[in-house]
Amino acid sequence: MLYLRLFYEFFKTGLFAIGGGLATLPFLYEISEKTGWFSTQDISNMIAVSESTPGPIGINMSTYVGFHTAYGPYGFAGALLGGIIATLALVIPSLVIIEIISGFLKKFKDSTLVKNVFYSLRPASTALVAAAGLGVAKTALLTDSQLIWAVPDIFSIVNWVALLIGGLLFAAIRFFKFHPIVYIAASAVIGIVLQL
């Protein structure tokens, strides 16, 4: 039964992939190898679609895989169900785990141990966000992010137009305090107009 199999594979992915959407990738390759539902070329397409549409990448990917896999044998309605089943299977493990942790935290939120652990976790969490931002910056602001350690001077691979736009956007974000989606929409238009 394809749906059961889909559920099983994505439940497993949700249970063992730690650290965000891209951590699901190795699991997708394994599913592809084991089941032959889709090829590695399909995976590249799925990543491209997931990254270019709104929503967390891991979720987009599971919906896409579930839909794509069930479309052949079951048609549109069956594929819709496949996408929903794969997505729910992916989120159920984290839902259960976080509900348990939440209950635990609620009980111990006044303990000094918990407070001190979070006191220490917060700067670490901030650092990881900063590092993730730098990862995005590498692909957005450099003309060839692969060359970052290879070229003699980094200025030769900086995409100056992108850097200028980024600087202006940052200034606007700090100064005007509009909703983030305003800047996202504006930058999409800028990207289309300037053919970035």
């Binding site: 949700g14 249970l15 992939a17 730690i18 965000g20 959407g21 679609v49 990254e51 270019s52 549409t53 929503g55 967390p56 891991g58 979720i59 919906t63 839909f67 479309y71 594929a79 996408g83 729910l88 989120v91 984290s94 839902l95 976080i98 942790i101 939440s102 000094t112 001190n116 979070f118 006191y119 220490s120 976790l121 917060r122 700067p123 670490a124 969490s125 901030t126 650092a127 990881l128 966000v129 900063a130 590092a131 993730a132 931002g133 730098l134 995005v136 910056a137 957005a140 992108a162 980024g166 956007l169 940052f170 983030p180 989606i181 800047y183 996202i184 999409a188 990207g191 289309i192 970035l196």
Partner: protein, 183 residues
């Protein structure tokens, strides 16, 4: 019921405005959850993010579940999570069914290049906001710099870094208790 519906709608909104992974969601969470609805503080959000990064599953889902649970318990967590994934299911299904080669469309690629630049600027802004709250003394600054450079320069997994920082917190707790005992 009204509050559950609001959780669903708010997270559906957040899901439909996030491009990229959980990190790109942070600026929107700060806006919708902390500033607008005041469902939790910036500190709480950071805590959820820290735990979300080292527990199984998608960071965005983990954070949504935390906030939903905080408001309405187990059922709140479920509504927030379903709200978050709802737009993805709709959008991806439409694209998978009707638009062949969506990601190859030139207009999509250009728009995405623009959005990526914006996501950098938004994450930088989010980091500054978080930094102001989380880096409050020399110890915190040291933790920040260590984790930042280790995660940039090595392949050591996020889970180990978060676990190590948590463990350091346990040591801090012991040291502080001893000091209190002495004074």
């Amino acid at each position: 019921m009204k509050e559950l519906f609001k959780l669903f709608i708010t997270f559906a909104k957040i899901g439909s405005m996030t491009f990229g992974g959980g990190y790109a969601m942070l600026p929107i969470l700060q806006r919708e959850i902390v500033d607008k609805n005041k469902w939790c503080t910036e500190d709480d959000l950071m805590d959820y993010f820290a735990i979300g990064q080292c527990t199984p599953g998608i960071i965005a889902v983990n954070t949504a579940t935390f906030i939903g649970y905080r408001l309405r318990g187990v059922i709140g967590g479920i509504f927030a999570t379903i709200g978050l994934v709802f737009p993805s299911i709709v959008i991806i299904t439409i694209i998978a069914a009707f638009i062949r080669g969506f990601a190859d469309l030139e207009i999509v690629a250009h728009a995405l290049s623009g959005i990526k630049i914006c996501v950098c600027a938004l994450i930088l802004d989010a980091t500054i906001k978080l930094g102001k709250k989380s880096i409050i003394d020399t110890y915190c600054l040291v933790v920040f710099l260590l984790v930042f450079f280790i995660s940039l320069l090595t392949d050591i997994s996020t889970i180990i870094l978060i676990a190590a920082a948590g463990l350091a917190g346990v040591v801090v707790n012991i040291v502080r208790k001893r000091r209190e005992g002495r004074s």
